[in-house]
Symmetry: C2
């Protein structure tokens, strides 16, 4: 399987970490987002949404959307389970992954895409042009701070986001926090539970994937 | 099982339709979003994110996030399958569901929440106050129009979004289109494939759930 990737971008990193935890080997193909390669005719034929990651299956078909790619990996290689265990465990992993995506990653992307100079006129991923909205970037930063408080509260009562087992939700949250740190948004010193969890998940070998 | 619901809101409708397709009976508990009941202490104890739907399991625990609730239903009642079939079928259902959420429903919510008078100061779901950003509403409407073109193109090549089988992705798109129609955003007359698909899914008995 081949993964259309961009080493520096947060979204494909979620898939690389997930695959590393599974012990799945992927052929990585770099897409130069800074140079606009995602808008090339060649890449549009692979993903008209013009984003990475994209998983190319051995039959040549393409799969996009991180949760779908990771679910596919879980189906073809169930061990170790990264979507929890049983109906309730799986639902908890999907629930926390969705919260991290909607309240964390989407808010951080709003902050990033609506202020970064190189993204003027491209404030939304994809082929269509959208102007930046600076107020939305400010809102995004406030939302990320509010979400970190929720994460800290959750991690006061559970070892990992979905419970006592490391899941896709932890991978998504790790990537959120590293993405935010790169944007100079850190974890508060008094968020002890979030700090404890971060030290633990960032120390896993998969984090360098 | 009990579902915290609001008859008029699009998000819980996705779960009601999914449950109806499965033949699952839910006890519905109405949360009056217009009156702000989601911000009450009683409801915050159920879901600190202050949104519906919330599924209450028989052990008293609560599950939020639509994809997680629907995945739970799929696990406890696999027939009829609404997340496709097999690893690739399931991934396709999750992929299209994610596209509908991110490119359709989130954009439509941006349009709704950033213009509706009653949501001033509450432009983002949840307990924290965020002012409306009118430019974001405009962006949302443009994004929905662009996404409808993608849906039409996809439905030119497949009967349903994820392929030859009705899935959660079709439920999400049906709810998107009805939500948009209520906001006076319709399907273009020349979007023949999307029109054909809409007539088909809107005619299913579950659509009235």
């Amino acid at each position: 399987m081949r993964l259309y990737d961009c080493t520096t971008a947060p979204s494909p990193r979620r898939v690389r970490i997930f695959a590393a935890e599974k012990g799945l080997e992927l052929e990585l193909i770099q897409v130069d987002l800074r140079a606009g390669e995602q808008f090339s005719a060649a890449f549009r034929a692979i993903n008209p949404d013009c984003v990475v990651p994209v998983l190319e299956l051995d039959d040549g078909s393409h799969l996009t959307e991180i949760v779908a790619i990771c679910d596919y990996f879980e189906a073809i290689k169930p061990e170790p389970p990264l979507f929890g265990s049983g109906a309730a465990g799986r639902a908890a992993a999907l629930m926390w992954n969705a919260k991290v995506e909607q309240q964390g990653l989407a808010a951080m992307a709003d902050a990033f895409r609506n202020t970064t100079r190189g993204l003027r006129g491209h404030a939304v991923t994809g082929p269509d042009g959208y102007e930046q909205i600076p107020e939305l970037a400010e809102r995004g930063l406030k939302r990320v701070a509010a979400f970190y408080e929720k994460l800290d509260a959750r991690l006061a009562e559970a070892q990992y986001l979905a419970g006592d087992r490391f899941t896709i939700a932890d991978i998504s949250a790790l990537v959120l926090i590293d993405f935010a740190a790169w944007m100079k948004v850190g974890i508060a010193d008094d968020a002890h539970h979030l700090q404890r969890w971060y030290q633990s998940v960032a120390a896993r070998p998969s984090a360098s994937a």
